[in-house]
């Protein structure tokens, strides 16, 4: 619902953003007034608020106006427009604002500054309030991609005459690339520009309205300037043009070259400071996926290991789990989630509240620290996000009267209960349900190694059903072989093949069983990369596709593609074939040649709900369209448990 409302709201704002550049310089007023008049209602809608400040531009942008995007950066903050009753409404359009900031800066500063202010204000909010709805753990990482698909949707629906014009104009203006800067840098720039402008305005604009006086605290300015005397401000605007240009030139000069989006999110500075691992330099990463956190491969392992004793505040159990994530010793959604919860359980057991603090608050922040450590080791899966959210809500709900030891036992048993009910029991229920769909003589196809699918196959085998299994696998993980080994050992008859032969084996398959890392509320299945192709081929061959997934992995997010949110694997893993020294064509490239090579190793993909016949979950077998119902109806109970 939210998403839909938002998609309606956003385009309007966008149009405003795109249209302004086309307006003649002489009359910025009417145009700029437009947004303010219509934005207030929008700003109140929660939907627009929840859009992330750093939107991941949809793919189209990357290709056609990359330059524009990077040119965006530090939106020059003018003092006069600090107002913003409309903070929220501008956020969605922020990337757009950035897009055409160069032309706009010539026109009306109010607009721009408004964009800047709103973005700042927004950042602030995102830190505090926003988390209620986003994953508590995820911090920025998750919140940034919170509604990516809604962005995409907006893009798709956006009527684009204005936009294309804007782009053309932009192209013609051919601004040199500029990088987005971190929040701190932007802030500094803003201050300096404000000072410069104040000086120029002091002479030019004596009638200057009260609100235009430079203020050190932009956010707090009275929300009125916008509608202040248009004449005065337009004069001021024209006065300012000269200043702005020079400032802009300066800015261009001292800006660093474009950086990856992952780095210049507002969290950049803070995350860096907090981070345990140093961020690997992202070389040769595919342009389209630069917004994703770079893979932390084995090179980080020794570094983290050597700091073993320095990280005293990380509980050993958490540390161990983090190491296992990083080293790839532990994979698979359920296993990672269980390992994490058990580590937290141990940490809670060893926890004692420091003096002058309350358990619920201190423990929450402590868990938050653990979580951010784990995220650094490897991005969390949705299911883990749900589990963390559960744990935090449990902590928050602890009655204050509880003694520390009681509280700890309560939490530990809560965690146990979560593991038992949401994973173990859920899996058992799924087994039962799924087994009813297996008949004698079936040929079942599965992809990769999903623990619940494996259990289903073994369970059905124990029930004495006669069926064959096709295990489809893919490089570079080759997880299917692990599954294959366990199945063959148990006496199932299996066929093993690689993903590229899928269309040949699909003829004889009667059912496809897939696991999932997460299922979104539009029914999109987020799972190991390759799943989408399997589902698509199965769909084309009219083979039913059953996705087996515990309900705790459902997520209210809506996602349409696998670009906005994904995880990058080790790029070297795909350039090398283990055990085949003869296939080493990529090995001895020179550094210069390597510059032309970008390796992409994605971990997940999104399967559209069209290809899914049924989702087998602990609440029964449901069509993909019912996922939002489960999310909505059981969310409360699930948080209450």
């Amino acid at each position: 619902m939210d998403a839909r409302r938002m998609s309606r709201a956003v385009p309007r704002v966008r149009q405003v953003g795109f249209f302004t550049p086309n307006t003649p310089v002489q009359q910025p007023r009417p145009q700029s007034a437009a947004p303010s008049s219509e934005s207030p209602p929008l700003s109140d809608s929660p939907a627009s608020n929840s859009l992330s400040p750093v939107m991941i531009p949809p793919p189209r942008h990357l290709s056609d106006n990359l330059g524009g995007r990077t040119a965006a950066v530090p939106v020059p903050g003018r003092e006069n427009s600090g107002e913003l009753p409309t903070v929220g409404s501008y956020n969605p359009s922020e990337s757009v604002l950035w897009l055409d900031s160069p032309p706009r800066s010539r026109i009306g500063d109010e607009e721009l500054s408004e964009g800047a202010e709103s973005s700042l204000g927004w950042y602030r909010r995102s830190n505090s309030a926003k988390f209620a709805s986003s994953l508590p753990s995820g911090g920025f990482n998750l919140s940034t991609v919170k509604h990516p698909e809604s962005v995409a949707a907006v893009e798709a629906k956006n009527p684009l005459p204005g936009k294309s014009e804007a782009q053309k104009e932009q192209a013609s203006s051919s601004k040199p690339l500029k990088a987005k800067t971190t929040k701190a840098e932007r802030r500094a720039l803003q201050e300096s520009q404000r000072a410069a402008k104040a000086a120029s305005k002091a002479e030019a604009n004596k009638s200057g309205t009260a609100g235009e006086a430079p203020s050190s605290k932009p956010m707090k300015q009275p929300p009125l300037k916008k509608d202040g005397p248009p004449v005065a401000s337009s004069i001021a605007a024209s006065e300012r043009i000269g200043v702005d240009r020079s400032v802009e030139k300066e800015r261009k000069k001292d800006l660093p070259p474009p950086r990856k989006q992952f780095d210049d999110e507002s969290r950049g500075g803070r995350a860096k400071r907090r981070s345990v691992l140093n961020q690997p330099e992202a070389r040769n990463r595919v342009e389209l996926f630069r917004h994703l956190p770079p893979h932390k491969n084995g090179t980080q392992l020794p570094y983290l290991q050597s700091k073993f004793f320095e990280l005293q505040e990380k509980h050993p159990a958490v540390y161990k789990v983090g190491l296992q994530y990083l080293a790839g010793d532990l994979s698979g959604g359920n296993a990672r989630c269980i390992a994490m919860l058990q580590a937290f359980q141990e940490a809670i057991r060893d926890y004692s509240t420091p003096p002058e603090k309350t358990l619920s608050r201190d423990l929450t922040s402590k868990i938050g620290g653990f979580v951010s450590f784990l995220i650094e080791c490897r991005p969390l899966s949705m299911s883990m996000g749900n589990a963390i959210r559960f744990l935090k809500s449990r902590i928050a709900r602890l009655p204050l009267t509880l003694s520390e030891s009681e509280a700890k036992t309560t939490l530990c048993s809560d965690i146990d209960r979560f593991i038992n009910e949401k994973i173990v029991l859920a899996d058992k229920v799924i087994l039962r349900h799924a087994a009813t769909k297996i008949r004698d003589g079936d040929v079942l196809l599965t992809y990769g190694s999903s623990c619940v699918v494996e259990m289903i196959l073994l369970y059905a085998h124990e029930l004495g059903k006669q069926f064959r299994v096709v295990v489809v696998d893919s490089h570079p993980m080759l997880e299917g072989q692990k599954l294959l080994r366990r199945l063959v050992v148990k006496g199932l008859s299996c066929i093993y093949t690689q993903l590229n032969a899928i269309s040949y084996v699909m003829h004889e398959v009667t059912r496809v069983f897939l696991g999932a890392s997460s299922i979104f509320s539009n029914g999109t299945v987020y799972s190991m990369v390759g799943t989408a192709s399997v589902a698509m081929v199965a769909h084309a061959f009219r083979v039913p596709v059953l996705v087996c997934c515990e309900a705790y992995k459902f997520h209210e997010r809506v996602q349409l593609d696998s670009i906005c949110f994904n995880e990058l694997g080790d790029p070297d893993a795909i350039s090398k074939v283990p055990g085949r020294v003869d296939v080493n064509f990529l090995d001895n490239l020179t550094d210069k040649q390597k510059e032309n090579l970008e390796l992409l190793n994605l971990k997940y993909d999104a399967t559209p709900s069209d290809y899914i016949s049924v989702i087998v979950t602990d609440y029964g077998m449901i069509p993909p369209t019912s996922v939002p119902v489960i999310v909505r109806e059981y969310r409360k109970e699930y948080l209450l448990i």
Binding site: Q305, F308, P316, C451
Partner: protein, 456 residues
Amino acid sequence: MDFQVVVLAGGNSKNLTPLVSKELPKPLLPVANCPVLNYVLHQLEQSNLKDLIVVVEGEDAALLVGAWISGTFIDRLHVEIAAVPEDIGTAGALRAISHHLTAKDILVVSGDLVSDVPPGALAATHRRHDAAVTTMLCSIPVSGPLESGSSGGKDKAKKLGRYNIIGLDPSKQFLLHIATGAEIEKDARISKRILHAVGQMEMRSDLMDAHMYAFKRSVLQEVLDVKDTFQSLKEDVLPYLVRSQLKSEALLNRTPQGEENSNEKVSSQNNQAFISRILANASTPSFHGIYSENPDGSSSTRKTHKCCVYIASSSSYCVRLNSIQAFMDINRDVTGDADHLLSPNNIIGPSPKLGTKTTVGPNCRLGEGSEMGDKCQVKRSIIGRHCRIGSHVKVVNSVVMNHVTIGDGCIIQGSVICSNVQLQERVELKDCQVGAGFVVTAGSEYKAESLAKKEK
């Protein structure tokens, strides 16, 4: 992090006579004017390990070491000194302090290790694999002439060949075979069972056991209790653990699987099995796991434990001071290539008084309060505190400890001169070790000899 650190500082070492003596036990032997134990403690302190147990052989030595530690690391480290009888070996020493060990894992470090490898790396490897024992291996130092071709005439003892034969699995994470020094005559016995389970073993002889181990406490204590003849960690305990890793008997049944299950206080046994199966399936099985699996896939009646290795990168410095040769090498390296090892607190004091036309070359270290006469030459040498050196003295590739008096016209090459030694005029020493308090008479010449007071 639930680690306890035991520093095995040793006491009198036979290998190092005449350098060590009752007054100067091995842990206090100065390396670049700073006791060797300092390097280990400094390294541990850097890693934020502040609670240590230092085990010293012999009561007297323990007193000396204790006094030094409390003087140097006062209120920086919390150190317990444990004195154990001499000649009970490293395993014996651990056995003696076994009741002090309470943490989940024990980090055992030899006190004579001069290294810049962070102990955390070893500990992290140990934890990650949930191993019974993890040992640190480093490449064998290139002893002998490095850049200094003239340093010739090193101790011949190094030719004894301290070979290690070390077998690793293909991923270089597990230790499959270890045989040290004396055991190797002609043939190495390798367990067929292990070879079968792993399929491929890499034999290395260019690695050295750095004598830094992480043990799981339960395993260590049981081994020490049951095998009470074990003397040495390196030669008895470690090879035993490695040999028995696939058939750890009842003895070691509290190893990986056991520990893991105890973490999971899941109400029903059934669920517990379920969870551990999920976890086990998710992780990449090591050969231990595969081996312990029964043919029908159910997990296992066979007990295994893991012996892991942490291989220090070849760029890091890691040498044990266990021979006179090593002593010379370390002195040279610490002032030269590996000078980052010197903890800041022993940078040279106020510079000594030098006579006219006296030259001090690079890679030298002069202690405070030393005086040198005219026209002396010092190259690649270390001179301790309060030494008095006459005129026309040449010191090359040597170590001169504290309070040494050297007469005019002496020539010292490749030698170690201990504290309070008096060299009278025109003594020539080449590749000698002069024990503490010795007096070398005027005009004498020695070559490759060990001089010490015999008055005991």
